[in-house]
């Protein structure tokens, strides 16, 4: 929600400082990780964009089951453009995002005739149709085996600067830059009147419509923006891993996105990021150390149930709750002598 007030400028300065701090940590992070952990970090950064773009759609109150397939549209489009037509990779990623957005715009016409649960099922069906097309048409989509040997991101070779994007560290930084820029755009969208309108549609679509908001157009807009960035995430994925197949974008993967979003919370922009980061850390570090990583769906399910029961507003609500606790605890014993000290 946009906040304008006298305390706004101070708060903004604090936020800026926090951001600088955060980026310092993110810049140092890969050097503290092993090679395989660096690879996980790359995928994590890509997943952050996936789940944050998903959140933008949920602002209008609609939850889709097709978001990972839309990511796949970006991945396939970018991979095919590079492989078949020799489009340079950074450009193909952008076009992949545009392709995902275009497919979303097309799907809006049938899907936004529905709301709520019906939209959820409709989006699932639409996603399955796209996946079946990939499976059925070996040319150009490669059938069930998908596409392999996708062109990597081109290395940067100038006189004194040479960056090899096959190295996870370098791809990590590339992804970090692209994802940060994307998150900034998503943030700006939400903070603008467009975001206000999305929220308005979520809470009272009839009232919004009655004062002139074309709710169909705004739902489509949210879906198109979310899909564009999911497509970008897909492009980043395809040119890093080098292979895509229909199974990679199945509904199982979508369930993980939902778990990240629900466990993290979707009220704030950082909620889903917390969700995906915490769950990835649990998955890749804790479970792997315990040798339980094959039980991932089971553990994710348990975490989902626990978080819905005990933390219904997500991890994002944990901070404010703890802070309130802390203030209460501190004001308790210090209430008497607080002023004197």
């Amino acid at each position: 929600m946009p906040t304008a007030g006298p305390a706004g400028s101070i708060r903004r300065a604090v936020w800026r400082l926090r951001l600088v701090f955060l980026f310092a940590i993110l810049a140092a992070l890969p050097y503290l990780l092993s090679y395989s952990q660096q690879e996980i970090a790359v995928l994590l950064v890509i997943n952050v964009l996936l789940v944050c773009s998903y959140r933008l759609l949920t602002l209008t109150g609609e939850w889709s089951l097709g978001h990972v397939v839309i990511m796949g549209v970006g991945a396939y489009a970018s991979a095919l453009l590079a492989k078949q037509f020799g489009v340079p990779v950074p450009l193909s990623m952008l076009l992949g995002g545009c392709m995902a957005a275009a497919i979303a715009a097309l799907l809006s016409f049938p899907l936004f005739r529905m709301k709520g649960f019906y939209f959820l099922i409709g989006s699932f069906a639409a996603g399955e149709i796209i996946r079946l097309i990939w499976k059925r048409f070996t040319d150009p989509f490669g059938g069930p085996k998908g596409l392999k040997r996708i062109d990597p991101f081109p290395n940067i070779e100038t006189g004194f600067l040479s960056i090899d994007f096959y190295e996870p560290v370098n791809y990590y930084f590339l992804s970090l830059v692209i994802v940060s820029a994307s998150l900034f755009v998503l943030y700006r969208v939400e903070r603008s009147r467009i975001g206000l309108t999305f929220h308005a549609i979520h809470w009272q679509d009839r009232l919004a419509e009655s004062v002139g908001v074309d709710t169909f157009r705004y739902r489509t807009l949210a879906f198109v923006i979310a899909s564009f960035f999911a497509g970008i995430a897909g492009g980043l994925y395809a040119h890093y891993v080098g292979a895509v197949n229909p199974t990679r974008f199945s509904v199982d993967q979508m369930v993980y996105v939902l778990v990240w979003a629900v466990v993290g919370g979707t009220t704030t922009l950082h909620g889903p990021i917390l969700g995906v980061v915490v769950l990835t850390v649990i998955n890749e570090i804790v479970l792997r150390a315990l040798g339980l990583d094959t039980a991932r769906p089971l553990i994710y399910g348990a975490i989902l149930i626990l978080s819905v029961l005990y933390l219904p507003n997500g991890l994002e609500s944990l901070g404010p709750r703890l802070r309130a606790r802390w203030r209460l605890w501190r004001s308790g014993p210090a209430a008497g002598g607080g002023e004197l000290a």
Partner: protein, 263 residues
């Protein structure tokens, strides 16, 4: 009935709406003239709310036409009608409950605060947004709610929520405002204040059509009253005429125990 011979601003011609086998509105015609406060009354189930929903574009008419400013607008989207200047309110406290009071009215300024997608992103919409905020505050001041601008809506008492609902609609700068039961659930004092507000809105040049059960309020407020029964027109006329019309009295009191409705 209308002294000036000019064309009505809002008109229904042979309006019909069926839900399956049920005919909620049946060949219903009326016209609302510019500057009027026009009441639409009738016993429960007469089809008033359905009529409102058809006029405001939530349902398409099964047959017949709605004309707004001389144009056939039957079946147009609610948002398109709002852009033309036909705005409705809702029964009860239909508001963006999770928003602040000001943000509710800011959404109401949707049509007045146009800007492109890119200018929203890079923040060059600031000027039009500041204008929208000023207009929103002005609208709140009109209802005496400016002190509450920063409050969450859920903290507001019922009467204030009802006024806010009207403020949201008024922020869209309507030519015709459709009020759906504006006085329901209000005590006499609140009703009196609300009536004064409705008159002041009319004095700002907004034509008003309202559906209401509070007969006292309707009779005192409206210039002209249309009475519906069983989805069709029963009587239309000035409050005194309608009040003494035997058909109206029968519609309200002639039923098994409809006592207490008509004054």
């Amino acid at each position: 009935m209308n002294p000036s011979g000019e064309r009505p601003i809002l008109e229904a011609r042979g309006l019909t709406r069926r839900f399956g086998g049920l005919v909620a509105v049946n060949d219903f015609s009326f016209s609302v003239h510019e500057g009027a406060i026009h009441g639409l009354i009738g016993p429960n189930g007469a089809g008033k709310t359905t009529t409102f929903n058809v006029i405001s574009g939530f349902y398409a008419p099964t047959a017949g036409q709605v004309l707004f400013r001389g144009l056939d607008v039957s079946g147009r989207k609610t948002s398109a009608l709002a852009a033309m200047g036909l705005v409705r309110t809702f029964q009860g406290s239909t508001l963006f409950q999770e928003f602040s009071v000001l943000d509710n009215v800011r959404v109401g300024r949707h049509l007045g605060a146009r800007a492109g997608f890119v200018s929203r992103l890079i923040g060059t919409d600031r000027l039009s947004e500041r204008e929208a905020d000023a207009k929103a505050l002005e609208t709140l001041a009109f209802f005496g709610l400016q002190e509450l601008a920063g409050e969450p809506v859920s903290n507001l008492p019922h009467g204030h929520q009802r006024m806010l609902g009207m403020a949201v609609a008024l922020a869209a700068e309507p030519r015709v405002l459709l009020l759906d039961e504006p006085f329901t659930g209000m005590n006499p004092e609140e009703t009196r204040r609300m009536m004064a507000l409705v008159r002041r809105i009319r004095d700002r040049g907004v034509t008003i059509m309202l559906v209401e059960h509070d007969m006292q309020a309707v009779m005192n407020l409206c210039d002209i009253i249309t009475v519906m029964n069983f989805g069709a027109l029963l009587v239309e006329g000035a409050p005194e005429t309608v009040r003494n019309d035997p058909a109206v009295i029968e519609a309200y009191l002639g039923s098994i125990d409809g006592a207490g409705h008509a004054s």
